[in-house]
Amino acid sequence: MSGDNLLQLRGVTKSYLTRSREEIHALADVTLDVERERFLAVVGPTGCGKTTLLRLIAGLEVPDQGTIEIGLTPKKTASPCAYLTQEHSLFPWLPVRKNIEIPMIVRGVYPQSARRMAEEVAASLGLGDYLGLYPHELSGGLQQRTAMARLLTTEASVWLMDEPFSSLDEKTRHALQHLLLDIQKQRRITVIFVTHTIDEAVYLADQVLVLSANPGRIVGSFQLSSPKPRNRMSEDFGFRIEQVRQIIERVLA
């Protein structure tokens, strides 16, 4: 593993067979390096393999060809990756408190410490008043906040996020984006963030990856170096969004 790279994908290919035994090339020959503490956004049309990419990195799927290396020694049995999806990531049968405690319970953290830690994390994310509620009693925004609190109590240093804010209204989404940037700065985690909103990618990421569908492959990559948090009203912001949009349109055409 070379340099500061945390994550190395080499020629990663993944196909699925449909029911009618047709082969779908979800990802074809994806080669990618992700540096430590980077924020990588992945955009592209539906079905271009974004979810597949995250699941491969998490180790939830196995590539047909190619290699995926993560430059971290895994802690005990837990994965170095944490995975967050748009919905159904919380356990609906557990209250917020236990949902946040679960990673620590599994790690064998002493119950009293786990409890205290969960309370601290919840407070820092503005969840202090909701510890006793169940997920179905929370709004979508609070649910995703809870899910992020749970990521915080893992020891994962790579956060794989699959359209985590897509079903939220704009105001809530912006608040959570801001929160995520704060967390990344403090915890120095690496984030790979899938979204279909260009605005979200350009607001959050250090690098934006554009995927094309069928076969899913990387067709564009942008570096974004302006400091965060970024101003959505600035000229540069609008310019970047336009740039990504043009690439995507060209790909889709």
Partner: protein
């Protein structure tokens, strides 16, 4: 157009529910009363039945049966053992089958073959096989007379039949529920590095509990039907079913009536208790309904 709610009607006050719920049972009493008025020899008066119900410890001399309280106790002990055994075997097997296809392939055919057979019809043959061996014959050497008396009347054949009747609903609801668990929840635990115990304790069991409670309630209802029916068979000397049946033979119908009332009441209480339990463990599903 009139606004119509798509939700089921809201629950009304308890008083209203009780009042409406008592109408049909009250009609039953009216029918009973009319039976008494007709002078039928089969129908006992309220007073006679009331006497039996309010003197549960009296050993009826005219009847070849133990007291009402002893009969209830024995029936409940048999129920508890057979049903408890069913829960203890069906839940682990159900979880195993739900998690591992291969286990299910082994168990499923036999389950589907055995399930349609009414457990009571198996009682004669099982009684032939096991004879009248009871808990007292199997487990205990020396115990005091009273305990021996009780244990001797808990026949193995009955426990087996009860187990048979209760096993399937519990097993099947567990398998079905475990299989429905979202893969994403399992993946979450996998990424956290959770072992078997944590997976069971925090995901599989709490997720399955609502379905399990439902299966357990249905199984309990079946067990209650089965045990009363089984106690009517020859070879029994005690229990509510036995009392009911013996009293019929000696025309002491007040005991039959009392037994019927007790059977209904206990059945109702068991069901209500379980319904409450079911509601308690299912609250988190409120939104999915």
């Amino acid at each position: 157009m009139r606004q119509q709610s798509l939700k089921p009607e809201q629950a009304d006050s308890l008083t209203l529910r009780l009042a409406l719920g008592s109408i049909l049972p009250a009609l039953l009493f009216v029918a009973w009363w009319m039976g008494i008025q007709s002078g039928s020899a089969v129908i006992p008066t309220f007073g006679e039945v009331w006497h039996v119900l309010t003197h549960p410890f009296e050993e009826p001399e005219e009847l070849n049966s133990r007291s009402l309280a002893f009969s209830v106790l024995l029936t409940l002990i048999r129920l508890g053992l057979g049903y408890g055994l069913a829960v203890l075997t069906a839940v682990p097997l159900g979880i195993l089958s739900g998690r591992h296809r291969l286990v299910e392939y082994v168990i499923h055919p036999l389950v589907e073959l055995a399930r349609p057979i009414n457990p009571v019809v198996l009682l004669p043959i099982i009684t032939v096989l096991l004879g009248i061996s009871s808990l007292a014959t199997v487990f205990f050497g020396q115990i005091d007379a009273w305990r021996y008396d009780v244990l001797d009347q808990v026949q193995l054949a009955m426990i087996l039949i009860l187990w048979y009747g209760a096993f399937f609903p519990i097993y099947l609801s567990t398998v079905h529920s475990v299989r429905n668990l979202r893969i994403s929840h399992l993946e979450t635990m996998h990424l956290l590095g959770a072992g078997r115990w944590h997976l069971l304790r925090w995901v599989i069991i709490p997720y399955t509990l609502p379905a399990l409670a439902n299966g357990m309630r249905i199984a309990l209802g079946i067990s209650w039907l089965v045990i009363i029916a089984a106690e009517i068979f020859p070879g029994t000397r005690s229990g509510l079913g036995y009392m009911l049946c013996t009293a019929c033979k000696t025309s002491d119908y007040e005991y039959t009536f009392a037994a019927i009332i007790v059977i209904g009441t206990i059945g109702l209480l068991l069901n209500e208790g379980f319904r409450r339990f079911e509601r308690q463990v299912s609250h988190w599903r409120a939104v999915e309904k």
